[in-house]
Symmetry: C2
Subunit: 530 residues, 2 copies
């Protein structure tokens, strides 16, 4: 099934906001219904493909005739990702970033052949996994015509080693399919980002994705043991051992490279036995500060839950941790903050960890809310992007951004980003609701994930650009990283350049030039123009 | 205190082998006393420094007059590292790799100034921490005169953040001094490689060191949260957050770069509270295979000990896990294999983990040896390099090498390396004793650490070169990495090139060229000549 072309996910799962929520948005934020309906797919004027007949022939010889698509719908469906600005532009029928063709390779060698064809015909190439980037990761720049390389046909489990607990997966495998293939053998990857139902293994690696169970299973980049990269200059194969002292870790150069260094054609990951038990619990803290201190204690001294998530006061009040419950009588009401702590593993180990974690949480000032909030969270864990579509339909603006920092910088970072978002959007005449949660913890720090909801106002793209710009500056000034798990794309390029420093950028450019001398690979993302 | 110039460590701690061991070596391996005594330090003919007056002036202006040393003894002490071939050549008075000068900077800015001076005067530069490399990491190549950059004056704790549990350390800090500075604040780094007493923080980072407590504290590269690198092209600063999705991880490009990309001038590491309890226990397994299976089970399903080490049958018989006890009546005698499992942490957590690990070990076929073997291991944990000096004195040859692989490849790798070492040295007329242990475990694989002892024979350097070559080939053929924690240096360069692949090497060369365009930084290590 294809995703909704101008929104999220399965079109059948979208649903309008309950009247209570619409009322709340109107009263609280001045949200008014949009005056216009989104443009229909068939109404969009699509220019003919810029692909020359010679280029088309060579692409066909690389992957076969039915796997080179130039029809309008396929091209539209491979235009951009799923950030709110992306969606607003799609809803307006603005498709300036259309690929010249969509090419679907079935193997590493076919990817190499496509790269050769692109080099020969001066076509840029943008790898396309689930198409779920929210940071402009699929924007090609407009200097040259480009091919979207859709990896969906590369969706096999290539190898599974139950002794070493490793699996080698093709990049086009979506999260649920990868889990299903592993589950047949009794294993799980344990990677469940919000985009899980649609995003792919290759995309997880290329963007350093992090899932909701990262406290227990680690980030995706921590799961990766080996990678194969197809580049215009040939193949790069990494990962002979879990860990090595043989030089810099080339895996860590490919992870996060966002298609700018090559196309990831296989990923070898750590796998674990399917847990016997999954148990999610809710806890209530009087304040975000107290909740943060408790999360830090669990992250540093244990026991480590598998899932650990703390919503701030605003997010708790709105109930965004349980999107399905918003506006319903079951939704949370009390002041303070909600924690969801989840435990997965064997019966014995889960019981031991849950009990000791409960003691730590209680000592830190929490009161138990039982399993109901945990169940609601688990049920609604992939629903937030659907909710965003409904909010956009209702005339609201909704977007997210995220960062991470060392623990001691977290309170300052939290305050600075909230302030930057609130001030700029209020100045623009669309005062926002800014919510935040911590959903990834480390011994030395944690992530902050912000959700912003406001009225769309007269020019939501411009308003958001200003707010996002202010937030990015605030993140860097307060000592955070410009992205904890969304990636760089085009949206974070300038801040990333500041974060990596001039010499860091120069080193990465040197790598890019060596692997992609013609600069055809995803040319607009990651690094600012030279 | 300086290390013994042609051997290991504190000269006062060396001691001759007990007669029982000398007899064993003679009867088992045909070891005979050397006919000649090692050359004395004062007897070595040292050519005058190739440093020009202009270069000398500029180095003096960079670091001050007393910190540019060209005397014979200082230069000899900065010639090579501590591999057995290094020591044998030093004992023969062969010092072809002498630096032109030894320069001791006190700050990042002084390092930058030294780099400028070197670039201007066509001097290569070899960073020198503890000088403990056993893979030719301090060999300069002989194309140009070079400066050894001794970092011992950069030995401060720059910052400690008790909330985030991070510390920023200068690179010249030796292990014990770093631990002492952290202990004053109640923290530990937990990094205890065999070279701990002499090796430095910068060296740990540059070579991806791994310590004996890696099961609990992780490898050094896993502890590193930030690095500052001084290069001929300026400064590279990394690490704004524990984890980030902002592009490739530049930290992982610097870690393992062995001084070829720049000089590491500060390292920010994760620290942990000093453990309340340390408890080491011995266990006996009937065979290495059963012991390996048990280690895998603990690494994959837990509970994870802090220290976990399994000696194979030969190492157990020889008692190399307790160097201090070799030849003594307290030494281990039984057939089979010994495991040392150590637990550090809070009283409660240590008790829980030790008890559950004991159950796993028993179920896997182990019998308890009590705490005595653990105590002996802990007592002798830094003694093996002293033992090597005694072996060399007695006319024996002794050297180590190490690798790592995924669990499923470990038995084949173990057999292949043993066979390669045994066959080549037997062919050379010096049949060896080959011992092995596993001392670093991961969910997906483990390290293998081999110790080889034989008679020196007529030409130990040539014999070992052949054996090491055969072992390197066997490692790669059997799917291992050429180094788990010793690094690449000059000794592993060719195999590393094979492991990284042509395109991997090309990418790293591109980075090197960008950061060190004149190729003055540690020019012989890591990457083969272009």
């Amino acid at each position: 099934m294809d995703m909704l072309w101008n929104g999220w996910g399965d079109p059948a799962r979208g649903r309008p906001l309950p009247d209570t929520v619409t009322g709340l948005l109107r009263d609280l934020l001045g949200v008014r219904p949009r005056g216009t309906e989104p443009v229909g797919l068939a109404e969009i004027p699509v220019p003919p493909s810029a692909l020359t007949p010679a280029a088309h022939r060579e692409l066909v010889s690389a992957v076969g005739g039915t796997h080179v698509r130039t029809d309008a719908e396929t091209r539209i469906r491979h235009t951009r990702g799923k950030s709110t600005p992306d969606l607003l532009r799609m809803r307006d029928g603005e498709v300036d970033d259309l690929p010249a063709a969509v090419v679907l390779p079935a193997s590493h060698d076919e990817v190499l052949a496509v790269l050769r064809a692109c080099a020969e015909h001066a076509l840029a190439l943008v790898p396309f996994g689930g198409g779920t980037s929210v940071v402009g990761g699929l924007a090609p720049g407009r200097r040259v015509p480009f091919v979207a390389l859709d990896l969906r046909r590369m969706d096999r489990l290539l190898a599974l080693d139950p002794v070493s607990r490793t699996a080698t997966l093709q990049p086009g495998l979506r999260g649920p399919r990868a889990e299903a293939l592993l589950a047949e053998r009794g294993f799980t990857l344990g990677h469940f980002p919000q985009s899980y139902e649609w995003a792919t293994i290759g995309g997880f690696a290329a963007t350093r994705s992090s899932g909701q169970a990262s406290a227990g299973y680690g980030r995706f980049d921590e799961m990766v043991l080996g990678l194969t990269l197809a580049t215009p200059e040939g193949t790069l194969d990494t990962g002979r051992a879990p860990r090595s002292a043989a030089g810099p870790d080339l895996r860590q150069l490919i992870l996060g490279s966002e298609g700018a260094f090559g196309v990831i054609t296989s990923v070898t990951v750590r796998i674990r036995p399917v847990p016997q038990v999954r148990r999610y619990e809710g806890w209530h803290f009087p304040s975000f500060g107290e909740g943060t201190a408790a999360l830090r204690r669990l992250a540093q001294d244990g026991p480590r839950p598998t899932v650990l998530r703390l919503s701030d006061e605003t997010e708790t009040m709105i109930g965004l941790a349980q999107p399905d419950a918003i506006g319903s009588p079951a939704g949370p009401r009390s002041a303070g903050c909600t924690v969801v702590a989840g435990f997965e593993g064997t019966e014995e180990d889960t019981a031991y960890r849950a009990e000791r974690a409960a003691a730590v949480l209680r000592e830190s000032g929490a009161t138990s809310l039982g399993e109901e909030p945990g169940r609601r969270w688990a049920h609604g864990r992939y629903s937030a992007p659907y909710l965003r579509d409904s909010l956009l339909d209702a005339g609201a603006f909704a977007e997210t951004l995220e960062t991470a920092a060392f623990w001691s910088r977290l309170p300052g970072l939290y305050a600075a980003v909230r302030e930057a978002l609130t001030a700029t959007l209020t100045d623009a005449g669309t005062p926002p609701l800014v919510m935040c949660h911590i959903s990834h913890v480390y011994e030395n720090g944690a992530s902050l994930y912000f959700t912003v909801v406001s009225a769309q106002g007269d020019d939501p793209l411009a308003h958001w650009a200003r707010a996002k710009y202010a937030a990015g500056d605030a993140i860097l000034a307060a000592g955070g990283t410009i992205s904890h798990h969304h990636g760089v794309g085009t949206d974070h390029r300038d801040w990333y350049a500041e974060e990596a420093g001039a010499l860091g950028v120069a080193a990465l450019r040197a790598v890019k030039r060596r692997l992609d001398p013609a600069g055809l690979l995803n040319p607009a993302v990651l690094l600012p123009p030279d």
